[in-house]
């Protein structure tokens, strides 16, 4: 891809004013949707993504049910108004792919064998997109799944890293995604230290690959802290220690 302008200035500042190791502002709200069994709203930079989780519930059509575990179904969808030019609401090739990788990145964290013959539906709706929406979607989906009370080994946190102006940077935004050299979304389970999603779009030197992956995992760990904090805040408020009830 030909680069039209510099994305990192001589002081190491990126187009949106961040340093190379800075994450965009992340805010997660747990439980905005009352009808869903679990839900989350994430603000990841300019991304605005709403996630609803239903289930475990009955599988329709019935033949999709698995006898030994639960089916996880994910739907990633971008609203027509989420981009500057109208996006056709019909599922595109890209959305189908993201739905699939999202499902595969969440599956290892879930205890699906606990709910045989049932289904869990995860709906990820992008209201405003700003690059890295799959990472933000996965992070929010993990929180929504925890909110739905589904057994999990760990939360899944996700963050991208990439190569811009020959430098490895954390958390690629829309502009850097389009004009940069590489984009590497990573989903990670911090407690288990396992990677559940690793994609790479663009070209990167083998020696920079490791650096990029480490940086993305570092970003995931930052997101993980925000996820934990959001869940704690929703369920326990500002209390961190349990006070015994006087009966």
């Amino acid at each position: 891809m030909t680069q039209t302008r510099k994305l990192i200035d001589e002081n190491g500042i990126r187009t949106d004013g961040r340093g190379i190791d800075d994450l965009r502002t992340v805010k997660i709200t747990v439980g905005p949707l009352k009808n869903a069994d679990g839900s989350a709203f994430i603000e990841f930079g300019k991304n605005r993504i709403l996630v609803a989780v239903y289930g475990p519930r009955e599988v329709h059509p019935k033949h999709m049910a698995l006898p030994d575990r639960c089916v996880l179904r994910c739907r990633y969808h971008m609203s027509p108004f989420s981009t500057d030019t109208r996006k056709n609401p019909a599922p595109s090739r890209r959305e189908i792919e993201i739905s699939k990788v999202m499902r595969e990145s969440l599956e290892p964290a879930l205890m699906l064998q606990d709910y045989p013959r049932a289904a869990i539906d995860v709906f990820v709706e992008v209201l405003q997109s700003d690059g890295g929406s799959r990472c933000a979607g996965i992070s929010a989906a993990a929180v929504a799944l925890a909110d739905a009370g589904i057994g999990m080994h760990d939360l899944v946190a996700s963050c991208a890293a990439g190569k811009v102006d020959d430098k490895v940077v954390l958390d690629i935004n829309d502009e850097e995604d389009k004009e940069g050299q590489a984009d590497m979304p990573v989903a990670y389970m911090p407690r288990l230290e396992q990677v559940t999603l690793l994609q790479l779009d663009g070209r990167i030197a083998p020696e920079q690959f490791g650096e990029c992956l480490d940086k993305a995992i570092g970003g995931c760990k930052m997101v993980y802290e925000i996820q934990k904090q959001a869940l704690m805040q929703k369920y326990f408020g500002n209390e961190t220690e349990l006070k015994e009830e006087v009966q």
Partner: protein, 262 residues
Amino acid sequence: MHEMKRRYVIPGDKIAEGNLRPLMNVVKSGSALIATRIGIAETGHDGVKVIPLSGVYIPRVNDLVIGKVIDHSSLSWEVDVNSCFSAHLPAQDVFGRDFSPARDDMTKQFAIGDMITARIIAFDRTRDPMLTVQDRDLGKIPRGELLRISATRVPRLIGKRGSMIQTIEQATQTRVLIGQNGIVVVTGRSPEGVNFAVRAIRMVEEEAHTANLTQRIKALLNVPDTPPAQEQRPLIASAPKSAEIESSIDEAEEELEVEGEK
């Protein structure tokens, strides 16, 4: 005896380390015990468990559930028990061993749309839950106000040895029937009492994990507290209403006294 240690956890949190047994919603990973759901972790002498604060109802054998008859075949009723599995009530359970689909009319017993109280007698990973109504207090529910709360709030609504539900029942002169699946039926003489009980149940559902809930429910229902004079003022917004309802409860109490309870 060991002291019970409790703390708030979210999935992936390490609760304890060492030679402890993982019970409900806890997995062992190496020597660490990890929570798998959001809730309150309890470390006791028999092991570690997490009391969940969210989630849908998953049937368990011996649970008392309230369900709605949604269909019937010639041999069994299908009952919606607010879960991802629909339960089955065999006709033989109601008509006895000599049940004959040709002779006995199943709709005479339970029609589609009826609410029933039942107990789960069998459930495993491979089959849908099986119900029975052959026990005291089981069977059709003739009337009442129906509520659906989260199944995880049921233990809180019942309270320690039934303390919470007894408080609500006594203060509002109602009978509250609670299914483990989160379906609650409130019956009572006065509609005001039922309304008040519904409000109290909703409050328990919303504030289940907070401390001193019984006290606040007592304040809402204007029940005098036995321990040292608590601040008895009811919620400011509902102050005039509660006074009104209080008087109606008094009336209901008088009525009941005349008739004698039960």
